[in-house]
Symmetry: C2
Subunit: 582 residues, 2 copies
């Protein structure tokens, strides 16, 4: 079985030595008590519960999976008890507003806990994860009455939540959704339709499940501009907060999936279920995106968690496993060059991605709470730019690292009991949901590069260049990183231009560009990590950071140029090929 | 469910227009009747059986899997009937010698059939596949008596075969094997020990299973030089060919795996089982490699089959599936640039890999049967060079393309009923067994580059350059391909040199070098395909080849330079990092 030890030293290093998370307590009055010590202490507390109670359910959750019978969904053994432990200990409400039974702590801390939870058991993590998403969506746009009715119990996890968006014919094309919402005349609506791929759509772990549903009013225009959002509880809620009648909705079936078997993925049938509108009519797509943007960052953290799980298990196996002798005479397989190549790929990816992910979370806190509007504006630019990068890079990385972990284990990696093949299976969904990684790339190229006259990417180029004025001994990082930033910037200009006249050419290169952008971002992270590590008291830690940075700079960063080369390659004949001739 | 249509037009194109398989009938007397028409006709016959009877078992084979109880293994529904159909129709004996009930047809044809079988159902394909391996091993080194006893029934598939090599502590390090063979004094040996990961180790589909077992004589030296090979039947065979007592061996258990669930992977316990030596004492490792080299090519074909399956299903889905509108106004997702990027990656990989694989099979036929010794020598060089390339590139490609197919399907790709997630799961084992792809890379760098003073790679560079003297209109291929070959050659020299003084530096770059070599080989294949396609009567086919070649040359071939750059990057500090500091 895969095992999990929370990487507290690394988390501390990134939060405090690389990113200076202490700025939150210093600059944001609401976080005055959330000092680095408090944040780290809480992370350590969470780690104990996650390592001890939730990681051990990962393998059985995969093997046993979820069952459905007559609309009743059974989750794997131990999940209900663990959910209770986790929610009652307050880990779900960490960063929610104190107004609705939250603890008002930084979002950054909640994401650190998210990373750990998603290493330990990503299928389990979806039950709290979707609940948080539902909380955020209602919090942003719900009426006072709706907020008071649902938010306190969603905040603590006493109730759980879902997002009901996708329909069989409406996946990436959300605007094709057909689910109807007909006014009942009493302020409520009658919801009719079928939603698919509904994570945590039905289970018995909590007393009530709150569905956040995208549906169409009778007189609405077609497409995305005619969608509205509704809160639709499994059990109706009486004025006094007690639960009333069962609503007319049911889990028609659950899906059988490649992975995340511990998470129930339901087909939800709404047969005239009673719901209440959240936000204004026909603003559903905007309302949904409040939650969706944070959900994309959350999925990035799911990927980061799986990257860490793959990496630490592969390292442990390679240190333990003996096969023959390496050139240096030692029997452990970690002494073989090719095994080191794989492990360093995993370390360089995971540790670099962690800085990207944590920094994004940090900026989310700033956008929400910083007293200075100008600082909030800058923070919002970073969040907008980073969201597709975090989502796509961390999740592509999770699949790649899951596959590499199997390769490090050799044939044993293919056997279920060793637990690493589960990573490759669990992680693949992360590249698909909350917008496929191809859609993230289009978001980056079509929207984020264009926003505010290109200001978002310019902030990034400037920030990296500010860091390049380094001491000469760091030239081995700063020179190649400078070249990467230069080519990234010129390709950015090329894309902005070509998108105006040949959008498909930009579309063709979007995924490669996205990866090149993320790798350059990781180059910046490695530069900052090397600077910060110089002060670290542990010699072994410094040596590890140095070797991993060298690996990244000489073997991964150069891919930027190869990727950006393809972005400029011609596409006319590729787009002209008739579908029938493929 | 994934469906499969044998790509007969493409197979014909590669065999006849690109590779001129007619040379076999013209130059090799034994193959005088195996004209291109005969080969294609037989491939079409095989395709009917494979599409109609074996492909439909792929999904249920995955879902139901194999079971073991009291040493009796049950295969998935339909497998036994399909195995009988397949073997009785003669598809297993195609290229075996007529001396032992084979049909004496080209190995190349048998591999074309293998590709199709491995597209349709790679788990099923392992039952015939291992039987062929066992046949080859006994044929190469068995005594007349052993050959007469076992080969006719292995040839036709009336009995099936295994390779019993791996032990729990002896995977990549074969020389650590501990299974003992003690002489019984009557010419037979008593085999004691446990072998793991034994594909087709036990089942009831045939009357007898012949195990080819690597074991150690009592007085043998340690390591690989003390291993011998033995034939150990499930049921002892009487002088008259009838079956005698059950031998003392049993499937102790079967493994639960990420994929190929229809193939039983057994832990085989030999408790004093009676066996007979094949070949001389202590030559087991050489005897095994007769089979292993062909097995590696076979695994390459398994990968090719899975590449084709992923590619054709993704294309069909992208043509059928409608989601919103692309920039050209069409609703099918194949009109989106990023979907085309994925599909063209899949086509460029699969079609290019097919030429590599078929050409390797062609050279195997030449080594075995060509009357001219000099031609056989050249052919052997190609087989030696190509074996790691075919094995590693086609199987890495299968995993990548399985993952891309899921991505093309979006969220639906993650759902089992659609059948493409099975490709990603089934294909991963191909990167691990018969030598991990890292071991293939070390075979390429440590052995193949060094053999005959570097002659193997020189043949390749020369062959590509011969093809570069093309008409000017093909400069868009020949110029970048020429640059790739030049850098590949200089890096080859660098590796040969550095291996002498710093073997770990060469080991660190081996996998990247292997991929760069394979991509350059595919560049050569695409050049040859474009030349051959110019004569093709179908305009749509020509357009498809042109666009796919352009995609490969502008977007995949450039990776060669990025990969070779990493091969030359320094490794000292990466090797010096203490294991504990990872």
């Amino acid at each position: 079985m895969a095992t999990y030890n929370a990487p507290i030293r690394e988390i501390n290093f990134v939060l405090n030595d690389v990113l200076d998370v202490g700025r939150l307590a210093k600059e944001i009055p609401a976080f005055a008590d959330a000092t680095p010590d408090v944040i780290l202490g809480l992370a350590e507390e969470a780690a104990k519960l996650i390592e001890g109670q939730i990681a051990p359910l990962n393998h059985t959750g995969d093997q046993v999976g979820c069952k459905v019978k007559d609309g009743v969904v059974t989750v794997p053994p131990g999940f209900a008890e663990a959910y209770k432990l986790y929610s009652q200990a307050g880990w779900m409400s960490l960063c929610n507003t104190t107004q609705y039974d939250g603890q008002g702590l930084p979002y950054t801390l909640s994401k650190v806990v998210e990373e750990m939870l998603c290493s330990a058991n990503v299928a389990f993590a979806l039950y709290p994860g979707l609940t948080t998403g539902c909380f955020e969506a209602i919090y942003a746009n719900g009426s006072e009455e709706i907020k008071n009715t649902y938010l306190p119990k969603l905040s603590t996890g006493e109730w759980s939540g879902t997002m009901c968006i996708t329909e069989a014919h409406a996946g990436s094309d959300v605007g094709a959704a057909k689910t109807k919402a007909t006014p009942n005349g009493d302020g409520s609506y009658s919801i009719e339709g079928q939603k698919i791929f509904i994570t945590s759509g039905e289970h018995e772990m909590v007393d009530n499940i709150i569905h956040f549903v995208l549906a169409r009013l009778p007189d609405s225009p077609p497409g995305v501009k005619g969608l509205s959002t509704f809160v639709v509880p499994k059990y109706l809620v009486n004025k006094d907060g007690s639960l009333g009648a069962r609503n007319k909705l049911v889990a028609a079936t659950i899906e059988h999936k490649m992975g995340i078997n511990g998470s129930c993925t339901c087909v939800m049938q709404f047969d005239g279920a009673q719901g209440w509108m959240v936000g204004a009519p026909n603003t559903g797509i905007q309302n949904m995106f409040v939650m969706m943007n944070l959900a994309r960052i959350m999925v990035g953290f799911q990927g980061l968690g799986q990257c860490e799980l793959a990496t630490q298990n592969a390292i442990r196996y390679a240190i333990d496993r003996k096969q023959g002798k390496a050139f240096n005479g030692k029997p452990e397989i970690i002494e073989h060059a090719d095994v080191r190549r794989m492990l360093l790929t995993m370390k360089a990816t995971t540790e670099g991605a962690r800085v990207l992910a944590y920094e994004t979370a940090f900026w989310v806190d700033v956008t929400h709470h910083h007293p200075d509007e100008k600082v909030r504006e800058e923070a919002q630019d970073w969040v907008d730019l980073n969201t597709p990068l975090v989502k796509a890079f961390c999740t592509d990385g999770a699949v790649e690292l899951g596959s590499l972990a199997i390769q490090v284990y050799g044939g044993h990696g293919f056997i279920k009991e060793h637990g690493v093949e589960q990573i490759a299976r669990d992680a693949k969904i992360l590249c698909l949901y909350e917008g496929t990684n191809g859609i993230q790339a289009m978001d980056l190229v079509r929207r984020k590069l264009m926003m505010h006259n290109g200001r978002l990417a310019q902030r990034f180029f400037q920030a990296v260049r500010n860091e390049l004025n380094a001491d000469a001994p760091l030239g081995w990082i700063t020179r190649p990183l400078g070249r990467a930033v230069d080519e990234l910037e010129s390709t950015t200009k090329f894309l902005i231009e070509s998108f105006k006249t040949a959008p498909d050419a930009a579309g063709f290169g979007a995924v490669d560009f996205q990866r090149a952008f993320a790798l350059t971002y990781l180059g910046w992270n490695w530069l900052r990590m090397i600077k910060a590590a110089a002060q670290h008291p542990d010699e072994g830690f410094r040596a590890s950071k140095k070797a991993t940075a060298e690996f990244f700079i000489t073997r991964m960063l150069p891919q930027v140029h190869s990727l950006l080369g393809t972005v400029r390659a011609p596409t006319e004949s590729l787009m002209a090929l008739e579908a029938a001739n493929f």
